[in-house]
Symmetry: C2
Subunit: 202 residues, 2 copies
DNA sequence: TGCTAAAGTTAGTCAATCTAACTTTTCTGT
DNA sequence: ACAGAAAAGTTAGATTGACTAACTTTAGCA
């Protein structure tokens, strides 16, 4: 860590990432202005290019931090309800939706289509790590409860359902046709159905 | 319809919408340049403002046309498999995913978060009309097969699952953790489970 | 036919990202 | 300790694309 002086910032890189994280979290990646992050960090708009390739590199870093946050929340959810239990798996699903609701803008950036972003290997790895948690928990549940299905298949189904719920919720598509929907109750009800389901799809 | 001359286009409004539809369909709304649509229609970049409020008004029109396309595909799917049948409902789900895959960019524009776009009433109405089809079919199925649940609740669950599948598929999130997944088979398997499920949430 | 409104045009403003060329500070090796 | 290189800033300007203002051409109608 460098010294802080009038001219040199000290740790501009981190300051820019933090300012950008906040801005994206609040206003979304589409509306994120790098120049605004510069203003907050108190530097010129040319300064970031000493630390980042371009605007997209900052977004990559933000996505990775957001995946870390999601992974943490998932782990906490499981930990508080019990490893390999139905309750724990339901809690993970709810944590996913809660994260999406709390961090709508980040969630969209993480799972939306941003080709350059997604090809970045560290981003892919972080995403995998998140999903691996789900497979593990489902695997434990299946073996402990003599469920015959392939945990991987079941995990994909659960993820699909929960991701759909998160997406429709934050994009306000439920609001149009089902404003009174209780999403958490729906997840609680639907999860056991999917855990019991036989697998077969390729 | 006006006459076509060297100076006046004839029906510039429609020409711009069509060019824009193609451009958005191919490159996505984020990358859509109004100036490119102007080039294709052979007019200056100032011309559109005689016909549209701004760039967003063109996007609104595009979304409505895309909903029409989706509604048509849904109806065709049901019609070919039988009204109120399990087969018909599965076909609707597959049609939804197929549409998303065929028209990824449009699908994202339709269901993503674009506050100005979504508040536009004609857009909301078109979306409702699409979902109403699903409720109708599920309602018919339930009454014909003595399924006790609330068709509306069940329809929401089906939509949630199918929408999650479509989103994860086109955003290439499945590709990262389950590149071998057969999405259509998954839908075929999962739909009956959800149709049989008791309702209670929301 | 001649007025008015519709539908174009050109020229120019305004942001925002990114680059080029320059300046200030920090680090390193002897 | 200090000279020179490298790191980390700066200002100024290129570029790009949406949108506006003021003007011009064409169409429709009494």
């Amino acid at each position: 860590m460098k010294q802080k002086t009038a001219y040199h910032h000290g740790d501009l890189k981190e300051a820019l990432v933090q300012a950008s994280y906040e801005l994206v979290s609040q206003g979304g990646a589409e509306n994120f202005l790098l120049s605004e992050a510069c203003k907050r960090a108190g530097v010129s708009t040319a300064a970031p290019y000493k630390h980042f390739r371009d605007r997209d590199e900052i977004l990559e870093i933000i996505v990775m931090r957001a995946f870390d946050e999601l992974a943490d929340r998932s782990m906490d959810a499981v930990a508080s309800r019990g490893t390999g239990t139905l309750d724990g798996i339901v809690a993970m699903g709810k944590a996913y939706v809660t994260f999406a609701a709390d961090e709508q803008r980040l969630f969209r950036l993480m799972f939306g289509q941003h080709p350059k972003l997604k090809q970045a290997e560290p981003v892919v790895d972080d995403g995998k790590r998140c999903f691996t948690q789900v497979i593990e928990q489902v695997g434990l549940y299946c073996s402990q409860n003599n469920v015959p299905g392939d945990p991987r298949q079941i995990a994909i189904r659960l993820w699909t359902f929960v991701h759909g719920a998160a997406s429709l919720l934050i994009d306000e598509d439920y609001a149009v046709v089902a404003p009174d929907l209780d999403v958490m109750a729906m997840i609680e009800e639907t999860t056991p159905l999917m855990l019991a389901a036989p697998s077969g799809a390729g």
